[in-house]
Symmetry: C3
Subunit: 257 residues, 3 copies
């Protein structure tokens, strides 16, 4: 029912994301049925965020100026109740990233914080070793998600082999997905935009919507792998986007794990 709503309403997703994944993010959002718009200039982000269905902040290739613009956009979204998703790409890998993510979390009311276990654990101060921006860590994903949700007072999604949604008290697991997602750049970043789209049509039922969004995303990967495993990851990427377009709410209900 969320997919149907997104495809009817085509929510505008104001995406302030990194230069590596802008194109893939926009095409993924179009495949889903949302309307991506990228706007980065300080002079316009407040205007754009205000008319959006949701705002995505992703610090993958950040600069001080972009972080400033993200905070302006985030505050503007907060004023009118537009949900905000923060993806703290590479938090823990450099001081600039960790500090920038924390600063955004302090100044903006973030609706959902989404990252891998390495990123989220570095924000809550649990020590783990991170390798690059996609670095996974061993350990208690659920504890990390739950701790972050309490500390930053926002819903938290920690993605990995099993994805965890936490509101700080209850935790929910979604087990769909496929390892080839980690072989295509930007699949984590696009997921932030996908979750933003689900939030845009699901006021008041955010936790449900996040679980549906994660299942939808993982199922698309499972189906894409089935069809392209003989070919390779570039074919997988194309088929993954095709699946994002064609999957229905019924598919998600039937195949979610």
């Amino acid at each position: 029912m969320y997919l149907e709503k997104i495809r009817q309403e085509n929510p505008l997703i104001h995406s302030m994301t990194n230069v590596v994944v802008t194109n893939f993010t926009a095409n993924g959002l179009l495949a889903l049925g949302a309307s991506p718009v990228m706007a980065y200039a300080k002079e316009e982000v407040a205007d754009m965020a205000k008319v959006a269905g949701a705002l995505l902040l992703n610090i993958g290739t950040l600069s001080h100026e972009q972080v400033e613009a993200m905070i302006i956009a985030g505050k503007s979204a907060n004023e009118v109740g537009v949900p905000v998703v923060l993806d703290p790409v590479g938090a823990g890998a450099t001081a600039l990233r960790t500090e920038s993510a924390k600063r955004i979390l302090e100044e903006v009311n973030v609706t959902v914080l989404r990252g891998n276990a390495g990123e989220i654990s570095s924000l809550v101060g649990i020590e783990v070793q991170v390798k690059g921006v996609d670095g996974a860590v061993e350990g208690e994903y659920t504890e990390i998600a739950s701790e972050a949700a309490r500390l930053f007072k926002c819903l938290t999604v920690v993605t990995g082999e099993v994805d965890i949604v936490s509101d700080g008290h209850e935790n929910y697991a979604v087990a769909n997905g496929h390892p080839w997602l980690t072989k295509v750049v930007g699949t984590g970043c696009l997921l932030g935009g996908i979750l933003a789209s689900f939030l845009a049509v699901a006021k008041g039922e955010e936790v449900n919507a996040l679980q549906a969004g994660l299942a939808y995303y993982g199922i698309a990967a499972e189906k894409a792998f089935e069809r392209t495993k003989e070919q390779g990851i570039a074919s997988f990427q194309i088929e993954f986007l095709n699946q994002l377009q064609s999957l229905t709410d019924q598919d998600v209900d039937q195949l979610k794990k």
Copy 2:
């Protein structure tokens, strides 16, 4: 005959475009047979524009600095008679975009202004409602195109279900295309580069060249849809680029609407 010329001469298209679509634009221009070059720094854009076959200015992810650089490049192109295409992405959606597009139109002799009806109407001051950057509006596309051509003293292309080319007096319609073009990010932006390439080899017959370019682009989409409709929009995007490579002038003559 324009396609043949482009493939013989490989005109250099200096593309100052937005970060979302740079890769797709470059690959689309290569598929056509043109030579894309991206250069953005104030210190070099005048040099690059001067040796180009055409200059593309696209404000999709603009900043003040980039607009300055676009004006430097545009003036340099004007000095040596290099045609300039302006794509005012998102004009009407934020004040920054509307004002930046108008400023470029004032300071640079733009050869062709290309946008959707929402963008162009916001520049000529006709009130319509725009949704996002791809927002279409109901209404008189032809009037909007014609008014813009007279007001800004340049050829104007308004794209939509039917594309309109106007010189302010005569208007020409091209009806090729497919709705899936709106499901792939950057198809409007790439079209600006494609039209720039046609202009680069068609001095003195710009209106004809624009019609041929629009028909070529729309036919590629029609053929791509026929081959990929069972698969989805990501497969469509790939096949669309394949078609841009393989279509000939004869195909365009035969299939244009």
Copy 3:
């Protein structure tokens, strides 16, 4: 054996590259088995370069600020012995590019300089005519490579129909590849990242590793062309990435020219 090592060690490749090719570069590196990370801000590039397996500097869409950041990253890499690949995209096409490339070569100990004949010849001061950023020139590729290697005291790779690796004294030719590589944007830029990945696992045998990397890349193109020649260059691009994923050291040994 280099491919096997890369796929076991997944070296982190800190890629400071141009906005046109970031996504393609990252996906190509993932296909190979390396771990791409893009970081551009002055405040973090020294940290990132230090923990990387190799650093890629590509001036394709440069600004003064980015060149500064590249020099900071390069010096940091030098301090800890991380290999540095410089791709002087468009050197010779504008003064800014030629000067920026030379400045990096002066201030950073570059391990490998990689470019086409036009770019490298402009850096060594041999006069040739360059068209755009992909401009090939007639002439003595081997002489250009050898001269650059001596002048800049680094290994030099000049790519073209036949690729040349030179240490300034000995020159080695690799003849794999396919002309369709020139019809996909960023294949030269991605090659810089691929060679950086080979260097990351081949301390002390750089010249061998570069030849293996060039052969691997060219063979992937040959195989991709065989499978997609009836379809077109966009299908070729997808299959090329698939091949980068599936080729083995044995394939390279068997098919290298």
